[in-house]
Structure formats: structure tokens, C-alpha cells
Amino acid sequence: MAYSFPEEVLEHVFSFLSSDRDRNAVSLVCKSWYDIERWCRRRIFVGNCYAVSPEIVIRRFPELRAVEMKGKPHFADFNLVPEGWGAYAYPWIAAMEEAYPFLEEIKLKRMVVTDESLELISKSYKSFKVLVLTSCEGFTTDGLASIAANCRHLRELDLRESEVEDLSGHWLSHFPDSCTSLVSLNMSCLGSEVSFCALERLVARSPNLRTLRLNRAVPLERLANLIRRAPQLVELGTGAYSAEIRSDTFSNLADAFSACKQLKALSGFWDVVPSYLPAMYSVCSGITSLNLSYAAIPSSDLVKLISQCQNLQRLWVLDYIEDSGLDALAASCKDLQELRVFPSDPFGAEPNVSLTEQGLVSVSEGCPKLESVLYFCRQMSNAALIAIAKNRPNFIRFRLCIIDPQAPDYLTLEPLDAGFGAIVEKCKELRRLSMTGLLTDRVFKYIGSHAKKLEMLSIAFAGDSDLGLHHVLSGCDSLRKLEIRDCPFGDKALLANAAKLETMRSLWMSSCSVSFGACKLLAQKMPRLNVEVIDERGPPDSRPEGCSVERAYVYRTVASRQRLDMPDFVWTHDEDSSLRYS
């Protein structure tokens, strides 16, 4: 039967589908829908750059305008992935240069990006608009200079938390006078001072600027002038927030802030002098997001600031806030959705602040919309976790880090199984969980039985045996990412759940009990899984097969399992000789 719907009509219908999942579903309906869809897809998201190759992507989607990609696994953030492992952006950038002359957006996370790549981006795409590099590394301010100089229609340059080799602040002066299109500039991770004149002129000629995140080197005395030139700002990251206490500096700053009627998000605040915080009070009632995680501010000053921000939805703060500050937060900020409390002294043996599990309990009681938490503390109890779970069954993300990795319930000295069990049982929409503390296989049984919507799980120093891992792999239906370190999990659970691994994006296991023999077997059984053995002690076959590997990174892929950029400490299955790892 002839298909009567013209292509253009279907294309038009598909253009309303923005979610990748919907588009993927549409492309499975029939061959002609697959074809129409692939020609009109404009944005893709690749969660693991090694799950697919540039050639495959380009072949399937010939008309992309926006590419978003992630590289290294999450534990790379904590130095668990050795330098040189991979996640290079260059091969992708080079391949896309020819294929996508109209590319507008590139967003990369945890990838190695070189100056060469940045220069290539800046010269290849006539309508390039958006560059977001989150937690990337490998480039210098010279690469930024290329982007500034050559991307005529640049809208966003966001260097979130990337590690940039800072040669000088001169890169900013490369933005030509004709560049007036900036909407978002985030340079907060850079160290060097940029030319303040160049910065002021850039801000002044960017009428659409909504987000400006300065770096620490921009002094407080310069902030007022910058803000004055951009009263339309929605997100502001200050530089260093300290200066000699002078009433003219203060009133200048306060005036400038009061002109910013649209300000919703504040961040920065290095080296805070608390006396200058009241300069911001005029904007506080509109603030929905506050990042004070670099600010050493005593609890009392924090409370004064936070109690002005009644519409606060997101707060990132250091543990200087203490339990008392969190009580105040719970009382003032009823719209709070996300809270992150970072440790001010993570390596100290003794607590330096009075922040305990009680603070989290208060917030869970007082803030009905709280759904996402990252909390560092030094003690926890099952009772507290059970109370938190009862108070807040709407948690979507729950990440708890107790500084001492195997700390038991400090009241009863029991494992924290019951507490985390309550969390997964009550919070039926939980998508992400990180656990610490003394935990046995029992907690994994609870997770396997209850955490049906869990997509990402992080485990450290927990469990007793393979049974723990087995519970998770066999029970968590929605699991996509599993990262494990220093747990006694090994071969049995892994091999018994081999098929499960293909339904996930990736599994990371370091300092566990996975043997090289099991890795080989897994790779043989599952041709679409890449089983990377990452071991800096030399070839795995120079040790007995039962020996544990340092790290195993297992991910599904449709690309070759022998990636060309593998360093000498990574081993994968050799396709040519199925019994030999090369």
C-alpha cells in the first residue's frame, strides 16, 4: 500500500518533538519514518563519546546543528581515572568540520579539548553560536582567544569548572567591537585578570547579555560599573567579594544592584567580606538560585542573607552554615528545591563546624518542595535518615557523603542499611542515589527491591559480597549508570548479570574484586559491551587470571571495541583473537 503522507508533513509533525527519547521512538516505527526523522534531526546528545563513532553519527544524521557529548566517567572528577585515558574531542571536531558547516552548538562534558580543537571550531562554522565546556581540560586561554576573535555570532561561551591553562587574560580583548551578540559568558574558572576596560566595553555592547559569571580576579570595586552596564542580567557571578570597607564603595554597589530587576541567580563570592553582603539585599526577594560554595561566611551572616531570599529554589553553600543556619533556611525558604552543602575542611580529622545530620532533617521537614540534596557531614543515624525519608518522599536526587567512609550510625553503631532502605522505599521517584557509611549487603537488597526508578547509583566502601552487586543489577529496572569503588564485589555478580549491562550506559568498578579472567569472559559473551581494564601495573596477563584488576569500565557501544586512542594502561577485547587481550 502506498504511503500517502507527504514527507514534508511528517517532517513538520516531527519538528514538534524535542525529546531524544521521542525522536528515537519515532525512528523505530518504520523505515520511511526512520529516514525522514534522521534528515530532520537537529540536535543530538551522546552520553558516552565511545558508545558511537563520529562516522556513524554523521552517516545517520546529516543535518545536525547542535551536538552535546560526555566523555570521562563521573569518578574522573575525583582523580580515579588516570591521566591520558581518553575522551578527546578533536576527532569529533575534525569529523564534524566537513559534515556540518552549519553547526551552531557544541556542548562537551569531561572531555579533553585542545587549543587546536577550539581553533578549528572557531574557523569552521560560519554561524557558530554556543560553546559550553563543562569540567573539560586540555586547552589554554589561547584557544579562547580564537573563539573570541573568529565566532562572529557567538551567543554563549561557558567554561563551567573546566581546567584551563591560564596564560593571560588577554583572550577577552579578542572579541571584536562588532561582536554584540553575547547572551552568556562564564569565565569563573579562570585565574588571570582580564582587561577591565575590555570587559566593560564588551558588557556595554551586549544588550542581550543575560548571564555573566566573572572570575576571582575581578575586584569588588569593578563590579558596580559592570552591573550598571547590564541591568538586564538574569544570572550574575561576582568576582572576589572583598574590599576595604568604605561607604562609597558600598552605596555604589547597592545602587547598581538595585537597578537589576531581573536578577535570579547569584554566584562567585570568593574572599567574602560579610559587611558587603547587604549591598545585595535589594535583589534578594527575586533570587531563586544562590551559589555560596566558595564563600567562607559565618553562619549568622549567611542566615541574614538567606532570610531575605524567600523565593530561593536552589542553594549551594559551605558547611559554615551549620545546623542553626539550616534551621533558618527551613523556616524562610519554602520554595527550596535543591540544597548542596559542601565541606569547608574535608581532610580535617575533627569537625570544624557544628553541622550534623540534624540540619538535613530540619530542611527536609521545613521545605516541602525539596527534591535534590547533596550533603557532606561527619555523622549520620538511621533515625535521621528514616525521618528524612518520611518527611520528603518526593526526593529525586539524594547524595549523602559522610566524611569517614565507613561510619556507622553514630547513635547505635549499626550499619546505615535501615536508613538508606527507608530512603529508597519512601522515595519512589528517586533517580539518583549516592551512599556512604557502614553498609552491608542488606542495603543493596532494599535498593534492588524498591529503587525501580533509580537511574544512577554511586557506591563506595560498602557491601559484604557479590550478593550486594547482584541485588542492584537484577533489581534496579531503570539503572543506567553504576559507579562503584572499594567494594568486595566481583566476578559472580558481574557475569550473572551480563545482559543487564547492555541496557545501561556504563558500569565503573575500581578497587573491587573483579578479575581479569572475568573481564575477558564478559567481553566474549557480550560483543556489544566494551570491557576496559584500566590498570597501571602493566599487562593484566602478566599476573594470575584470578588477580583483581585496578579498574574495570564497562559500557555498551556500537563502535569498535579497540578505540584508536587507547593508552598503554587500558586493555580491551581483541576482536581478531577472541581469547587474547591485546
Binding site: I245, P343, F347, P405, Q406, F461, S511, S513, C547
Partner: protein
């Protein structure tokens, strides 16, 4: 339970015993599996003598660590900044290295510990009003100033010595 631990004689750093015991127990479990002990360096990596040796723990990103480790850096550049600290009523003076502290919060906590007093919270208007003691310092010009008025870095470079003033004298200084 707490008192018996405190009176126990032991060699080694305080506060670490419990966690050490736990970490060793994890590696014991591992050695009970079929694996060959001798080739398993995991035991070394999992049973550190000190917490600081565990790679990537606690899971704090390095750029956050750097901000907070300013303390360690400033003392490693060699120069210290020792100033005398006197407290009204105390029989002898103490000396502290200002470069050891990162901010006023750290300094005041240390002083409170050292002299077993409560200094309280600084406010621009009231000084340390409400508390029994006020920390003051002599600056380069020879004037006695209230601690907390100027940015930290400025204070560190201009402070010649400190005096923790008591009672009514302190309040007098606060309302100048």
C-alpha cells in the same frame, strides 16, 4: 564508652582507630575469597594508615579543594607572621602565626580555644557587643583597632600584635 576510649593508652594519631579497624576488615573479607593474596595490591590501597592516602576521598572536586587549601599554601611559602596575643587577666601572652589562618572565622575560633573565652560574632555596627571579650590589634600606625573591620588580607599585613580586651573597656571601643 567514650571515657574508656579516652583513657586507653595508644600510640598513633587520635580519632583514627575506629575507621582503621573498619577499613582493615574490608580487606580481610576480600582475602577470604578465592583470589591470590600476594598479587592483590588492593589491600594496600584499601587499608591506608591515614585517611589522606585514600585517593579521591572524600569526593570533593579538585577546584574546591584548592580554594580551601589556601591555608596550606600560604604556610608553605616559608614566611610566617607571628604576633603576640595578650588577654586581659591572663598570666602570660601567647604567640600565633597569622598566616596559618584563612579568615577571621578561623582566627577567632582559634583564639577562643586558646584562651577558653567566648568572643562572639562580629558586626560592623556593634563590634562584638553582647560578648564579654573583644579582640583588638595594634596596627602599623600604632593605633588600637577592632579586629574584623578591614578585609582579612589587609588585617594580616597591618597587625603588629593583638589584645583580647575584657568587659566595659571592650564596649567602649565598640561604640566609637
Amino acid at each position: 564508652m567514650e571515657t574508656s576510649v579516652a583513657t586507653e593508652l595508644r600510640l598513633g594519631l587520635p580519632g583514627r582507630d575506629e575507621s582503621e579497624a573498619k577499613i582493615t576488615s574490608v580487606s580481610n573479607k576480600r582475602s577470604s575469597s578465592e583470589m591470590d593474596d600476594s598479587c592483590d595490591p588492593q589491600q594496600e590501597s584499601v587499608a591506608p594508615a591515614q585517611k589522606a592516602q585514600v585517593v579521591g576521598w572524600p569526593p570533593v572536586r579538585s577546584y574546591r579543594k584548592n580554594i580551601l587549601q589556601k591555608k596550606a599554601e600560604s604556610s608553605s611559602d616559608g614566611s610566617a607572621m607571628f604576633v603576640k596575643v595578650s588577654m586581659d587577666g591572663a598570666p602570660y601572652l601567647r604567640k600565633i602565626d597569622l598566616k596559618f589562618y584563612m579568615n577571621y572565622l578561623d582566627l577567632l575560633k582559634a583564639l577562643q580555644n586558646m584562651f577558653k573565652c567566648t568572643i562572639g560574632v562580629y558586626s560592623e555596627r556593634e563590634g562584638y557587643d553582647g560578648s564579654e571579650f573583644a579582640p583588638t590589634y595594634e596596627d602599623k600606625d600604632g593605633d588600637w583597632m577592632l579586629v574584623g573591620d578591614v578585609p582579612w588580607e589587609m588585617f594580616v599585613t597591618s597587625c603588629k600584635r593583638m589584645r583580647i580586651m575584657k568587659g566595659s573597656e571592650a564596649r567602649g571601643l565598640g561604640c566609637l
